[in-house]
Amino acid sequence: MPKTVFKLSDQPAGDISFNVVPLVDVTVMLVMFFILTTEVASKTYAVLELYRPHQSIAVKVEKGVGDTPNRVIVNILSKDATPSANRQDPTLAAEAKEYQIDGQPIMIGDKETLVRTFRARKADAKSLKFKEEDFSVEIRGDKDVNYMYVAPILRAAAEADIAKMNITALQGAGGV
């Protein structure tokens, strides 16, 4: 019976090598996916929970730096900053934390500052040759915040003689 001779590897025993190329491929793909789909907070658009109405007729507006000379966007942030699915306390979520215009926080109920800001932005838009009657205020509020925190913005807009008001909402079918 012939004797079997085993050919041993040149490498020392126990030196196992993995092919990590597919692992790196998949990881890079995942990182790219997250980079592209992550919502990044900007000064103009704060991260908050927007509402998606039933058969939403919201019209898409392009976001970008300096894209809002003829409108002022007022963000209304909830005291509960967690995503709506994880919100435990409806009372906390119903309370507004602050308003934000271009990253500038404004205290809740500070109508004077709102009016002053609206007038200043309106004057800026006018100096950039925009029609005064086209200037609009855009309300971008957290869906769980009570209306009592939104109403001062409407009053401030009225005082600043702003004719148009838009409401930010999510697009799509949605509904309660």
Binding site: A58, K60, D161
Partner: protein, 162 residues
């Protein structure tokens, strides 16, 4: 010179040195960069995104032209404004149209109600005033605004909070 290694059976083991001695040529070593730091960084980035991500959602604006009632004004005549009152019912919201409670169980029913109301005006310019009570969540106000615009009301206003 050290003796060549042998197998347990006394034969000469095939090793790199023995191959070299026999003139067997190896293929040139491939370029193999150390990918361990790359994998480390990638995993760190992945972990960061998995834990910190909030998916971007498509948002837009619902355009509104507002009458000179209760809040923001755009001037112009107002013809028989309709009043839609929103009350917080604890689990949701209840609606009142022209002061009368209406049992609406879905936003689609609200839309149909508003659309029939608008149709009844026979093309006259009619405005609607949404009057949410202070404790109504903003989402329901957006819903009412959306359905009013969908029902083709030209001017939509908000009543001031009392």
């Amino acid at each position: 010179m050290a003796a060549a290694p042998q197998t347990p059976n006394g034969q000469e083991a095939v090793t790199a040195r023995s191959r070299k001695a026999r003139g067997i040529k190896y293929p040139k070593p491939k370029f193999a960069p150390n990918v361990v730091p790359l994998v480390d960084v990638m995993f760190m980035l992945l972990l960061f995104f998995i834990l910190g991500t909030r998916f971007r959602q498509e948002e837009g604006i619902i355009p509104g032209t507002l009458p000179a009632i209760g809040g923001v004004s755009s001037g112009g005549p107002v013809f028989e404004p309709r009043m839609l009152t929103l009350r917080n019912s604890g689990t949701g919201v209840s609606y009142e149209l022209q002061g009368a409670a209406v049992g609406l169980s879905s936003p689609e029913e609200l839309y149909l109600q508003l659309a029939s109301m608008h149709k009844a005006t026979a093309g006259a310019e009619v405005s609607i005033i949404i009057k949410p009570l202070p404790s109504v969540p903003w989402g329901y106000v957006v819903e009412a605004f959306n359905q009013a615009v969908r029902a083709k009301f030209d001017k939509i206003g908000f009543a001031a909070v009392e």
